[in-house]
Symmetry: C2
Subunit: 280 residues, 2 copies
């Protein structure tokens, strides 16, 4: 395999040696943001939406993005070609960079920006097409403005994923402190009931997922009614189909939750197919 | 100033060039832990307690600590001497290291461990001896097991500190999603009322602070009654003194909260002096 590269602060460097200071606030405090995009036929999917979320997050955290939008896209496209990864995943990481010790971001002037490519499937991902979920012990705070972005504070999701693996499940279901369903460790959650597609509102603590929005738009195009509503785990059991959405895999059906089988629903492959046709 | 060093994975390296991979999960997800210790007369204060919290956190996150306890202390002591920092702050950072993309920590086998020394006061810290607090918009989740440790997921505290600076305050007061007082961005909070010292319980979402525990023990030695109890912001206004505890500065009195003056109380300097005498 040829040596691959990453873009680090506007410079192409070897993947094997690309590094940041041990005083980078990304490393110390998770003080940063990231985006993970699918690449299909050499094209980063839903680029403008991912860029927009990164920009909104950077604005909220007050981290200046050191590279202009068009240059950023050029670097992403160049990296896809250089690394020969036309069907892959691109990850962007923006951290606040290094500064004096302590939480105050004052005197932190040089953000770190990393662009990397990755195989679409993680090599050890032997999960089936339909995922078994278990409910995590992790509870997220509702109405947390930080959940609107993909911040680098991801320990709750790491812990939840670890719980899922320990119990032999494919992913974990996260609840908020009110006990309502929020999302899975790496995806937004949807369920169907009598032909209507439901998903928790962002205010529940759910990530404002790019694919979540695209799924809602896809449903509208198909004249499928959608509803954003809070739901307790018990109510989810009464649904007639559950699925997840995530940028890298699109729509993933859920086969069971905490060992209870979830019915298969033909509306889900229909939504998946329609979503795959619109990657804009 | 002579070139200073850090210990990075058991090796002494220059502070200026010490770095970790851009794929280190500390950088990507805040998937790690840290400790900040005060160094007095060349000795790291409350070393065993900090080490114990690091070990408990590492056990919870399932990150193996790559260096044995006695070797770790030897490295800390050596660094204090090499960097000529007998009155300073030592920071330890343990991250899970690099692995495949995604939240799953599988196939992540080489943790990163960084030991660094820092001036005790951050150079631009011009805060007065008594701090003015403002209430942050950030809300933390109560009963979150992750708040028991110093994880590298610190964005809520970064945001809270930023809010404080924007409003000209010295630090921010954090509430949990139940609206109860939890702690400040970098310290545990205490208040006195009729001779009794109160502090929120850890279950409120407060950090299990080393200096918090030491303060409670100090009060017991002085026969001052203590109580761990939930409190709403309004009740704090009825107290007769408020203070913070943090490893690097010990006891810091609070002068005001959201512009309302907090009374000065002689019990606070008494506790501070007694705490300073016991750094074990």
């Amino acid at each position: 395999m040829p040596q691959s590269s990453v873009y680090l602060n506007g410079q192409l460097v070897s993947t094997a040696t690309a590094s940041v200071s041990v005083f980078d606030r990304g490393f110390l405090y998770g003080d940063g943001l990231f985006e993970t995009l699918r690449v299909t036929d050499g094209r980063p999917c839903r680029w403008l939406r991912h860029l927009s979320r990164l920009e909104r997050g950077a604005d909220f955290l007050r981290i200046p993005i050191p590279t202009g939008a068009s240059e950023l896209l050029a670097h992403v496209q160049e990296l896809i070609v250089i690394n020969a990864m036309p069907d892959a995943v691109v990850r962007l990481v923006l951290s606040r960079g290094s500064g004096p010790r302590g939480y105050s971001p004052r005197d932190t002037n040089a953000p770190s920006l990393v662009i990397s490519t990755h195989p679409r499937l993680i090599h050890d991902d032997t999960r089936p097409p339909r995922w078994a979920l278990v409910t995590s012990r992790v509870r997220v705070a509702p109405d947390d403005p930080l959940t609107r972005f993909k911040t680098c504070n991801r320990l709750p999701y790491v812990m939840a994923r670890m719980e899922a693996e320990e119990s032999g499940a494919d992913d974990a279901l996260l609840l908020n402190t009110r006990g309502q369903i929020v999302d899975s460790s790496c995806a937004n959650i949807f369920w169907s009931k009598d032909g209507v597609i439901h998903t928790p509102p962002i205010a529940s603590g759910a990530l404002d997922g790019i694919t979540r929005t695209a799924l809602l738009e896809t449903a509208a195009r198909l004249n499928i009614e959608t509803s954003e509503c809070d739901v307790m785990p018990g109510q989810l059991r009464e649904s007639d189909g559950v699925f997840l959405t995530l940028s890298t895999l699109g729509v993933v059906e859920v086969s069971s939750i905490d060992g209870e089988t979830v019915p298969s629903n033909p509306i889900i492959p229909r939504l998946r197919a329609a979503l795959e046709q619109h990657q804009g």
